[in-house]
Amino acid sequence: MGVDSKPAVVVGAGPAGLCAAIELKRAGAPVVLMDENGKPGGQLFKQIHKFFGSREHSAGTRGFEIGRRLLADSLELGIDVRLDTEVVGIEPGLGVWAVERRSRSYTLEAGCVILATGASENGLAFPGWTLPGVMTAGCAQTLVNVHRVLPGRRVLIVGSGNVGVIVGYQLLQAGAEVAAIIEGAPALGGYGVHTAKVRRAGVPFYCGTTILRAEGEEGVERAVIAKVDRGFKPIAGTEETLEVDTICIAVGLTPALDLAYLAGCKPIFVPELGGNMPLHDGYMRSSVEGVYVVGDTAGVEEASTAMEEGRLAGIHAAYALGFLGEAAMRERTEATWGRLDSLRQGVFGQKRFAAKARILAEGKVRA
């Protein structure tokens, strides 16, 4: 097996990156896991709800429990985890340029690079959107679930996908009031079981509704909403004012692609998964030799799919570096794809399945 191997460098210690690093380390490959934050786990630790899926997907387990388990595994395996370490460049020949604690920079020659840099929440511009009190749903979620601080007392949530609805529920659990969840489309986006939980707590949903403006002197004091027509244009005379001090924007995420672009990865535009993302094949290999892309970076889905994609890349990278035999690689890749496919089923999953199939079809060109 491989000797004197340059390490696999995994960028991002969220669920995808952690799973990739764990696979590599278990195969005996040298691996370095870097994260720009002071704590690993990505967005996993603020997920306090029970996950869906099946037992093999850790269904019924709360997100932060999965995070703790992954961290414990990585510690037990002795993975070289470098926190407060920002990767600012990927040079041809896979030199990973890292800056540690904003004070020391170094280049690590990598055998391969796995980009697991996640995604960013989208903004929504409307008059007053910069006022204190307007924030992303994820920001509110971080505040209540990680820092245990309420962002405000009465919240309007804009966007009814799972993120907005789950954060609405978690704000209720934290002791805030949710005045309403509004959705521009004619129907709600999130799972029915998520919306039902919040609805029976008395939170109203308004479809075909947009936010016109946020009002207030030094912070949000009111939100003005209105109905929209089929073209998403506000309908005059339907304005309503809500007394809120917080407005959470939950209108989707976009893959974080800085490093993928720097590395030269070819993108593909897939609106269902968040916009532009790097092309990849069934092993999560990008168009650049030795660079893999996994998790939300490769298309916005869920923590459970991110973990499986991380495993795919970790398994293949271990093989590519000479630490895993081909038969074992193929068998474990197939098993992982089985679990991934079952997560991409049903009324919500099938759109993601079709979108990923388009990426894979084009991504095969470099297989």
Binding site: E36, N37, G38, Q43, I48, R62, D84, R101, R102, S103, S120, E121, G123, T130, L131, P132, G133, V134, M135, T136, G138, C139, A140, T142, L143, V144, N145, H147, R148, V149, L150, P151, G152, R153, R154, Q173, A174, G175, G216, E217, E218, G219, V220, E221, D245, T246, A256
Partner: protein, 118 residues
């Protein structure tokens, strides 16, 4: 402090899923000279929101700002920390005696030594 009434920030005592808060050492930070109780290890943003601080800074045109993404990607939450302007308060942990100041626009360097994470 402006915006206090509407900021509504406060700490969550018992939580149905998270349970009781973990014991944490209290530290004192200073916002524009006023002492604020903070928990060791938490980001500046969290201590300020818990203390009911409604405004973190103003832009050059006088627009009040606080926080937006909360995870270090958007720079809405920047303040001047220990003399260094433009520090992201959502990813910078508090330290005993830390001096946090509201800045106008990009703020200005006050000779700080770089403890804060930008």
């Amino acid at each position: 402090m402006s915006g206090e009434a509407s900021s509504g920030g406060r700490r969550i005592a018992s939580h149905p899923i998270l349970g009781e808060p973990e014991a944490a050492r209290e530290v004192t930070i200073y916002l524009d000279g006023a002492a604020i109780a903070a928990k060791e290890g938490e980001p500046i943003m969290s201590a300020l929101v818990a203390a009911g601080v409604g405004v973190f800074r103003h832009t050059k045109r006088g627009s009040p700002r606080r926080m937006f993404c909360g995870i270090g990607r958007c720079t809405d939450c920047v303040m001047t920390v220990d003399g260094i302007p433009g520090v992201r308060t959502c990813v910078t942990p508090v330290r005993e005696g830390m001096l946090v100041e509201r800045q106008e626009g990009a703020g200005s360097w006050k000779g700080g030594e770089g403890h804060g994470r930008r």
